[in-house]
């Protein structure tokens, strides 16, 4: 190697790299095209139904945009490659996810969303008007079936400082989480378990658990009345039935119309996930199936054999096998079941340690139960040692000295990647009784007789077999 040349090469490389620099401005048009093309969109816009034009001071709102696909027909939510900005001089701010945090003063501004070379704007007014009370349950009339849920957008009345009415608009982020929802049965004015309204992440969901008419009220502190808690007027809501059938499927099933629980086995100490599928009749007469696990009531006949629990998102029921070679009934029902339900269970999902049932002739309740078989853990392989020496299936292991006894140890590998010693659970067939005899009171310990050389023991564990062969010296 010529060291002078190498030195020069390295020096020049270093200098060239130092002076190398990109040109973001020049690259921008091409990079912008890639940003839009990667999402396959040719235009973006702010969907009016998902974005608010008026926001309260000190509140926040998550703005969203849609992209028009290159086919010119389909629209898709756009959440990546979006740059958000506000018009100059705005006191409010907007983050990279489109969350507008309103400032403490009223102002008018324009939000700009940019995706590559595409952009759209949306005018927003930050209002100092104060929340008075909820005046509508939702911006539009709700149609909801039992065992389903729908997002509601409560409408609030806002009042200016001088007492004049400002506007009615969706309640803002500061208020929606403070609302206490009161639900009564329409026919007797008693507290109702037919529905529940759950607010999470500033989104309120009406969950219909039974069919029937209910009266809903919203109770919330009123900014315009110095924090006095105001209870709204009654909102009448009907919870429709329209449930034609209910069935239980594996949670991994994707075709809800055709799914069925064909494999009802649950391995002991393992979990099988199920879901309740409801088939509803649509207004056009067609049927539509959906996962109604979260809003159904679940029960089990024998918790010693298996246990059940809803997943964190309530979208599936996890059945854990406890006692092998047993069965248990898992039942699910939608509607007003015969069993009493605690109010606290309504919110977190109803899971009872008894079967859930619908009363005979109750048309407002549908149920389904499945018998689950708790089976032994599936063994994928077994390995055996004799006096701590590894053995191979059906291959003789030659002992160099003749022991007085042979002690077998059987280890099983299970399908869940676990391993454990199963010596006491295996079955043994001694095919060399003239050479070894089994010690009484043991699982797999044998006394070696004075004569004979070839030991053979057939070992069986579930569907796994192993032939132990040992050659003993004289």
């Amino acid at each position: 190697m010529n060291f002078k040349s190498a030195y020069c090469f390295l020096l020049c490389t270093f200098m060239l790299l130092l002076t190398a620099c990109g040109d973001a401005e020049k690259e921008a048009p091409l990079v912008d095209l890639f940003a839009a093309a990667s999402l396959d969109i040719i235009a973006i816009d702010f969907p009016a139904e998902a974005n608010e034009a008026i926001i309260s001071v000190d509140a926040f709102f998550d703005y969203s945009i849609e992209g028009l696909r290159s086919n010119g027909v389909d629209s898709v939510p756009v959440t990546s490659n979006v740059t958000w900005s506000l018009s100059d001089g705005a006191v409010s701010s907007i983050d990279e996810n489109g969350r507008l945090s309103a400032g403490s003063v009223a102002e008018q501004m324009t939000i700009t969303a940019t995706v590559g070379h595409l952009s759209d704007t949306f005018d927003v007014r930050i209002s100092a008007a104060k929340f008075d009370q909820v005046v509508m349950l939702n911006s539009t009339a709700l149609t909801i079936n039992m065992c389903t849920a729908q997002q509601i957008i409560p409408i609030g009345n806002y009042i200016n400082d001088d007492g004049s009415a400002d506007e009615q608009r969706p309640v803002d982020s500061r208020i929606i989480n403070t609302i206490e929802w009161l639900i009564r049965n329409a026919e007797d004015d008693t507290s109702s378990q037919r529905a529940f309204i759950k607010t999470e992440n500033n989104i309120a969901n009406l969950q219909a658990l039974q069919t029937g008419d209910v009266i809903i009220q919203a109770r919330a502190p009123s900014d315009s009345q110095d924090g006095t808690v105001i209870t709204s007027v009654d909102f009448n809501q009907t919870l429709d039935n329209n449930l034609n059938s209910i069935k239980i499927c594996r949670s991994t099933d994707t075709n809800l119309d055709t799914c069925a629980l064909t494999n009802k086995d649950v391995v002991e100490n393992n979990v099988v996930s199920l879901m309740a599928v409801g088939k509803y009749q649509q207004t056009d007469g067609s049927d539509s199936s959906q996962n109604i696990s979260a809003y159904s009531k679940w029960g089990i006949s024998n918790t010693a054999n298996a246990t059940i629990a809803l997943s964190a998102d309530l979208q599936q029921l996890n059945v854990t096998g406890k006692l092998k070679e047993t069965t248990t009934n898992v039942s699910v029902a939608c509607g007003n079941v015969e069993q009493s339900i605690a109010d606290a269970d309504i919110e977190k999902g109803v899971v009872l340690e008894v079967p859930v049932t619908c009363a005979n002739g109750n048309l407002n309740c549908l149920q389904k139960s499945e018998t689950m078989n708790v089976i032994s853990e599936a063994i994928t392989a077994i390995s055996i040692t004799a006096n701590d020496l590894d053995l191979q299936d059906n291959i003789a292991r030659v002992f160099t000295t003749r022991p007085t006894s042979i002690i077998l140890k059987v280890t099983a590998d299970f399908s869940n990647s676990a391993s454990r010693v199963v010596t006491a659970e295996a079955t043994y067939f001694n095919r060399s009784a003239e050479v070894i005899t089994k010690k009484s009171g043991t699982s797999a310990e044998y006394t070696v007789q004075p004569t004979g050389n070839d030991v053979e023991i057939f070992v069986e564990m579930q569907n796994q077999n192993f032939t132990v062969k040992i050659t003993l010296p004289n």
């Binding site: 190697m1 010529n2 002078k4 040349s5 190498a6 030195y7 020069c8 090469f9 020096l11 020049c12 490389t13 200098m15 060239l16 790299l17 002076t19 190398a20 620099c21 990109g22 040109d23 973001a24 020049k26 690259e27 921008a28 048009p29 091409l30 990079v31 095209l33 890639f34 940003a35 839009a36 093309a37 990667s38 999402l39 396959d40 040719i42 235009a43 290159s70 990546s80 490659n81 590559g116 070379h117």
Partner: protein, 179 residues
């Protein structure tokens, strides 16, 4: 502060390299050509495409040093959904250094300067063309064919351009013929 590479600097560096090379005693010297199909990956954060080009090079070799002029032209465009990208032309000056000329499989370090023209077409956007130029660097591997020793099979992997938001990477697989 953005500092751009000037042609003057490049020539200066090339001159430095040339002085060092030609000052060394020449055991071997000769010209060669390279012909290879190549793929240039246009990489951005949101996505990438890989148009293909024909890579033609004329070079001069002195001991462990090679100097090449590369000219490439479009062979196939490539698309990302409705975005069509093409590379009509590439021009490069490359210096290659082989630290171990006696090896049967030669590993070479590549340094140079490239101009890459990219043409893009997208719905509702006029077809546009832009040329990106800058320092190129990479590595190459080559091995002589036993039956025709002056014909070498070669592979080059070169970062043609490295920008703030855009990378252009060349993968070239072809043959080099020494005269």
């Amino acid at each position: 502060m953005v500092v751009k590479l000037r042609l003057k600097q490049l020539l200066l560096h090339a001159a430095l390299i040339s002085i060092a090379v030609f000052a060394a005693p020449a055991a071997y010297a000769g010209t060669y050509i390279v012909l290879a199909p190549a793929q240039i990956k246009i990489k951005t954060d949101p996505g990438s495409t890989k148009p293909s080009v024909i890579d033609f090079r004329l070079g001069y070799e002195v001991n462990e040093h090679k100097f090449e002029l590369a000219v490439m032209s479009s062979m196939n465009d490539d698309s990302l959904n409705e975005l069509v990208t093409d590379i009509p032309s590439v021009r490069s000056i490359l210096y290659r250094y082989n630290p171990d000329p006696s090896s049967s499989v030669k590993l070479e370090f590549i340094l140079g300067y490239s101009q890459v023209e990219i043409e893009s077409t997208y719905i509702n956007v006029p077809t546009s063309s832009e040329t990106f130029e800058g320092v190129s660097y990479g590595i190459g591997l080559e091995e002589a064919l036993q039956s025709i020793p002056q014909l070498k099979f070669k592979v080059d992997l070169i970062q043609m351009y490295k920008g703030d938001d855009l990378d252009l990477r060349l993968l070239s697989v072809g043959f080099r013929y020494e005269f």
